[in-house]
């Protein structure tokens, strides 16, 4: 096989690994969006905070990695419930603009508090995965990437089963579908909302832990979540399969653009490509790949 093609395949494979991360982050967004109609702009800060929490659990408190991940998940879940109770519930019935701004305010607050508490240094996570890369027919994949792909798959399966078969999952889907009817059916919508925020924050924690393994931990981690917006829009805002497909697509596109266009235009193309895609999707097909097309008749 020629090297051009190998280069392409290599970019696609690492793009898929990146895409899995995007998909995971996107699912965190979409969960809240689907059930409550709120876009949580503070999701990135939750990811960043979980990375820090996991780091300090492992290094300062010498907790084994898996336990640390579990603890991080629990803390994040509690944070989700507290956020919903303290900040979002008073905003019920307010215009969407105000609700969005509240989450932006929360994100600014959390980020600067993290800066004050944890400092602005770059921390390197002691990765539990072996560092030597795996070679498969000329393509190099790091073990961390393989673990990310596998765990994302498992998480996606867990979500699928949870929403399809569990009682709570059904209640959540019902609430997302129609709040009033769900209420009449005896579902506690408040409870569902609190739980949705918890589940979404736990997802964010999972992506935070993975991000900590592939990048240095600093305040900039929260920006990665903004990189997942294009994935959500491409997938169609309120669809979980859409978020996964969108995440993978954006990961691959970003990597390909970085691999080929960087030489022509100069550095940084990789970071901006998702936003160009976002802009294009919004122009051409605002409801994304899997979203509902809302028709307004006048």
């Amino acid at each position: 096989m020629n090297t051009e093609f190998m280069f392409f395949i290599q970019l696609v494979v690492s793009g898929i690994a990146l895409g899995c991360l995007y998909a995971l982050i996107a699912v965190g967004f979409v969960l809240i969006l689907k059930a409550t109609g709120i876009m949580n702009f503070a999701q990135g800060e939750v990811i960043m905070l979980s990375a820090f929490i996991c780091y300090f659990l492992v290094t300062t408190f010498h907790v084994p990695f898996l336990v640390a991940v579990l603890l991080t998940g629990i803390i994040a879940g509690l944070m989700g419930i507290v956020t919903e109770r303290l900040i979002l519930r008073p905003m019920l019935g307010e215009p969407i603009f105000s609700v969005v701004m509240v989450t932006i305010g929360l994100s600014i607050f959390l980020r600067s508090m993290a800066g004050i508490l944890f400092g602005h240094n770059n921390l390197v996570f002691p990765s539990p995965f072996p560092t030597e890369a795996v070679k498969m027919g000329g393509i190099v994949v790091s073990q961390t990437e393989i673990w990310i792909m596998l765990s994302s798959l498992v998480l996606a399966a867990v979500f699928f089963i949870f929403f399809k078969y569990s009682r709570m999952g059904l209640a959540m889907r019902g609430t997302a579908d129609h709040q009033d009817v769900a209420l009449l059916m005896g579902i506690s919508v408040k409870q569902v909302f609190a739980l949705i925020w918890a589940v979404s924050f736990i997802t964010a924690a999972a992506s935070g832990v993975f991000l900590a393994n592939v990048m240095v931990i600093n305040l900039g981690l929260s920006v990665v979540a903004i990189g997942a917006f294009p994935a959500i829009v491409l997938g169609g805002l309120e669809s979980i399969p859409g978020a996964i497909v969108g995440g993978l697509a954006i990961g691959i596109i970003e990597n390909l653009a970085g691999g080929y266009l960087d030489q022509i235009i100069g550095g940084g193309v990789k970071d901006v490509t998702p936003f160009v895609v976002l802009f294009l999707v919004l122009m051409i097909r605002p409801y994304g790949l899997f979203g509902k097309k809302e028709i307004e008749r006048v």
Partner: protein, 350 residues
Amino acid sequence: MAIRSKTFSESYHEDIKLFRTIWLKSWIGLFLVVLAVLPLIGDPYIVYLINLSCIATIAALGLNILTGFTGQISLGHAAFFAIGAYATAIISNRFQVPFWVCLPASGVLAACAGIFVGIPCLRLKGLYLAMATMSFGVVVEYVVITWDNVTKGVRGISVPTLSIFGYPLDSNNKIYYFLIVLTALAILSAANLMRTRVGRAFIAIRDRDIAASVMGVNLTQYKVMAFAISSFYAGIAGGLYAYVMEYIHPEHFTFLLSVQYLAMIIIGGLGSVLGSVFGAVFITIIPEFIKAFAQFLTLLFPALQDKYDDGWNIAAFGLLIMLFLIFEPKGLSGIWNRIKTCFKNWPYTY
């Protein structure tokens, strides 16, 4: 002759007057006199803060026209501000033209960018619009950093001193009067705009766009117009910012700045001209209060020495956004109106 107990109007013309009572006129006159005397007696730092507040007011007015009056969320206001600032810097550096070419050119360039964003955004609402404008902001930031041979990238660009007909405004005190006049103009034209057909159309679009279009408001035209006017204001403010700071850098125009402008109009009051002024001044001077409060705390607890940095400002500012939205959605102008009504109706509370 009936005794006038409160302010009331006897004709529609009287009802939409900008300055409705003699009291209002005299208060504004007094305020202007105070502003005029201030640089002669006040601390230079206060003058500098007022200069910054003026620029913020102009930009916040622009955003309020788009977001508060027309109801189109924009998370990319810093991008238009940046376009104005860079236009002023680049034009005045390369062509040595006076400010009265430079500044309007920056405004017009920003307005063109606004139209460029506004037209494709016509189909978008709410969250989608927020994300589209936000991604525009990211793209502009990227262009400013990467287009090195024009914008000088991360090295930043210096701006020549503003001079009016050969008279250089080289200190904060001198540029102050220029800014006050321009800000007054901006406030007056925004307030007047809202009394015209265009302003009414904006408000109608915000309240219910479909109904507005049934009533004969051309949605396409007016939404694009709102984008253009809003970014024109931002462009002018950006140009002034470049003149005041004399050096601009991509770091000045991040997403946080867009959020700051949104915070100004939320804390000030959405859809209120007076609110934009309140919000802009409030957000500009709040770091000073936090600094003073931090110093006060270090007096009480010496252990906190050297713990204060910019992070606290930003944290307080995020907290303020949340608190205002949860407890006082009408913002400072809402509080202002309540106090005013309370005084006007005294001793009857209703």
